[in-house]
Symmetry: C2
């Protein structure tokens, strides 16, 4: 191996970062929580290569194709890093036309050669967590299950009452535009403008419609009467009495879908998390049916039509890569499948697989969770709640240590032997790699690791077949402050009982993130 001078540029590539310590552990727990929900609903894992033939990605991302990372042509095939997980899934479905239905999940990194803004969380390498249901079924049944999955994910992350799901339907929206008199060729651009209502006041959106996109002001005013509507079944009932909407085939089909969807969400016990929001339009062109976006406290910028402070705030909420977006705006969110304030989003896309192979056409509906944003919000909450777990970088429950008087040999083999006993019982345990560690050093190592229990070996006690279990951090005067002497043979059971009890006492959030407890969502 040639010797090299330390002239390396010691860094990760621009827009990428290492994940380590407590951040890596917390993110892994979020992945596990999400994957467990996916599996509970029959999701099967699909893992595709990190790069695809370039032609597979071509023509899928419009002008964002310039953000695709290409591999160098080193002879052979021309490949690019994947840009999302949806196109590889569609490619897989087209390659496997015998599969006529599938619930698949995929948690993996995707790549975008965008201008990064690491401090704002816009990275060139980031994770997506996708769940999609492919197949031809009775209307709105899988769509409802996707939304049920969304509620389970956030409730198990401990977000009860802190999120809501905005839903709308592309067919309703397109019908509304038709009814209001939007010319056919302006429907997508006008839809894009409406999509900005979560971060711009109506006056600005109207201006964009009329001045930038040349819409008749009277048509814009008609649109306003619809897209400002929000509600639940009440809103649907109102729309179902709107004769002009019912006379439009697209709107009628959408409203019928929505009627079914709300009934199914009721049967799934999650109707109260849903807000039917007619301003939701979603950026991507390929949606064909129901669309949704999950917003949470503090994740969506405030919207006001007057306060200039609020409008400044809103600048930082500029929609990523929507067609009217400014490619140089450094405050865009990373993921075009997510709105600025949203932590998950998705919808029905019935025509994407057919782009690869028309005869393999298969309708799909799915959702993508924005893990980086979920991570940031969860971490901030754990820190606010001063959760000890938030700072831990490992899950170790026990530190095995020893002490002794003059001539103490360190009891290394004895400590190893006790660790063996604990590991055999599946208990997470560590010990000092020093031959003769001092007791304060060992306690310090346990404290620094946030390890909740010490098992302490003393020469005389061990000779009598006993060791001491001590819970870390007990206050003075606690009856077990000095620990409890237990028989070595019962040590694993004694440790397990204490670890379980301690976990019962710790915060619900932590338990949920650890997957130790599943709370029933309230009905």
């Amino acid at each position: 191996m040639p010797k090299e001078k330390s002239t390396f540029n010691l860094k990760t590539p621009k827009g990428t970062k290492d994940w380590s310590g407590s951040d890596a552990l917390l993110r892994d727990r979020i992945f596990t929580t999400i994957a467990d929900v996916f599996k509970r609903h029959g999701g099967t894992a699909l893992d595709t290569p990190v790069f695809e033939l370039r032609e597979i990605l071509a023509g899928k991302y419009g002008e964002d194709s310039k953000l695709i990372y290409d591999l160098q042509d080193q002879g052979g095939e021309i490949c690019s890093l994947r840009y999302d997980l949806t196109v590889p899934f569609a490619r897989w479905l087209a390659m496997n036309p015998d599969v006529r239905s599938m619930k698949r999940y995929h948690i993996a990194k995707v790549y975008r050669r965008d201008q990064p803004a690491v401090s704002k969380g816009r990275m060139r390498e980031f994770y997506q967590c996708d769940f999609d249901i492919a197949g031809t079924f009775d209307p709105m049944v899988p769509d409802a299950e996707i939304l049920r999955i969304v509620t389970e994910v956030f409730e198990e992350l401990g977000w009860q009452g802190r999120y809501s799901i905005k839903i709308n339907h592309r067919k309703i929206l397109d019908g509304v535009f038709e009814v209001c008199g939007v010319p056919a060729d302006k429907i997508r651009p006008i839809s894009s403008a409406v999509d900005k209502l979560d971060k711009m006041p109506w006056a600005d959106v109207r201006k964009e419609m009329v001045e930038e996109k040349g819409l008749d002001p009277a048509v814009a005013d008609k649109i306003e009467t619809y897209v400002i509507k929000k509600g639940g079944r009440d809103l649907l009932e109102t729309l179902l009495k709107d004769e002009s909407l019912l006379a439009n085939a697209s709107a009628k089909a959408g409203l019928e879908d929505m009627d079914l969807l709300l009934a199914y969400l009721d049967a799934f016990g999650v109707l109260d998390r849903i807000s039917f929001d007619m301003s939701l339009a979603r950026g991507l062109d390929y949606y064909t049916g129901v669309i949704y976006e999950v917003v949470t406290e503090g994740s969506a910028p405030a919207v006001s039509s007057s306060a200039p402070e609020a409008q400044n705030l809103q600048k930082s909420g500029k929609k990523s890569k929507s067609k009217g977006g400014n490619a140089d705006d450094d405050d865009r969110s990373n993921d075009p499948t997510l709105g600025v304030g949203s932590v998950a989003a998705g919808g029905r896309y019935d025509n994407l697989v057919g782009m690869f192979l028309p005869k393999a056409q298969i309708p799909c509906v799915g959702v993508s969770f924005g893990v980086d944003r979920i991570f940031s919000i969860t971490k901030a909450r754990l820190e606010r709640e001063k959760s000890a777990e938030a700072l831990r970088s490992s899950e170790v429950d026990v530190f095995v240590m020893a002490f002794g008087g003059k001539g103490f040999n360190g009891m290394l083999k004895e400590r190893m032997n006790v660790c063996q006993t604990l590991w055999n019982a599946g208990i997470k345990a560590e010990f000092s790699y020093k031959l003769k560690p001092k007791l304060p050093q060992q306690f310090k190592a346990a404290e620094q690791g946030g390890i909740p229990f010490a098992v302490i070996l003393g020469e005389d006690e061990l000779a009598a077949g006993k060791v001491r279990i001590k819970e870390m951090g007990l206050e003075e005067g606690h009856p077990e402050k000095e620990g409890v002497l237990v028989d070595l043979v019962t040590l694993p059971a004694e440790v397990k009982a204490r670890v379980a009890k301690k976990q019962d006492q710790s915060s619900t959030v932590t338990q949920q993130l650890q997957g130790l407890k599943v709370d029933a969502p309230a009905n």
Copy 2:
């Protein structure tokens, strides 16, 4: 979105594949089993970007650098896909010089633009599972824990008695070569030749030493007397009486290490899985201390010094990328850190981090598990044992179905509602997305999914607050063949009890892979 004709080349790039269905699930279980062991020993996750600055990888892989995938220069930094997980770990340690000790694990894909042989499992994209301990500690303590971790992984995979760990020490080996009279500049080439003893008879290795590498035949004969030795503590005791070895500083240091290591492995209760094998040399240059390789039944090609059939077999076991290797040999294994027959390998490498930053030098010891090979062997065993689990692609426990007489409405909302109850309790459940599915269709879906239980809704029974639980596949005459009627309120508990009982009955392998049970390794 532009319409494209279906002129796509519908495939994954050469040397890559999609993982789906039961294969993806089994591989995930193997990952979980391995990661759980890593965490039990205080391992913390480190996730690095899939690409690194090219200069970070340069000069680390010798002539194999030609196998590195480069990203196209699209302006900005020059990057390459990572080739292994060790160099990114060393880069991270050099970038974080405040971290003076760390147990890190990393399970991720690596990339090699090698000639692929998919049918033989040599891929351009494949997973590595690495655990490494960095830090300056008392000798051989972390080394022993790494070997303990190796045993836990394979025992929890259900490989008890079917694997063994070969260990040796670079300092012993180098000392032996010096004592035998190998010139200093020939030590590494001669070591490479010795490393082939697991797939070539001594006569061929000797020929390589003498004819290709110009070694004095008398020296080669002396080497033979050492490298054919295998054993345990008995072998070490013999070597510790070898005056000429003890007079060599390197050999003496290695033997002292080995003495400590065996004592620690005894304290960890795993000495019986270890074979001290003086022919083990390992391909990579950067090892500086103890080295090891895990072999399993059927994974290592037979070695014979005479039978020509055996020698033909051995051809297919040619060592990957060792310096004497043939780059066109299509039968090489993929991963140069693994020998042909091995399923895990590693060793101590004290000087690698210093290649990035001499002042951040930090000794390391680690192991890499060959997940693809572990997957193939595990899958073959599950198929041989006709494990139903091996064929499942999801983990769903319950299929909720309904039936009724004339005018039956399909009970969709009722099925949804029962699913809700089960999901709330954390039970994995599915139902048909049809409005009015026929009962045989629903049973067929449950059977095809390998789902062990059906919950059956009948109109009259449900009106009385009852549903039927039926275990799938019970033989005629079984008392519960027609299922058991239970109260809807007790359904989750009834299902959980039956699922737990069923899992207790299923094979140990499956349970272990599901992480449901931790078997204590025998002492």
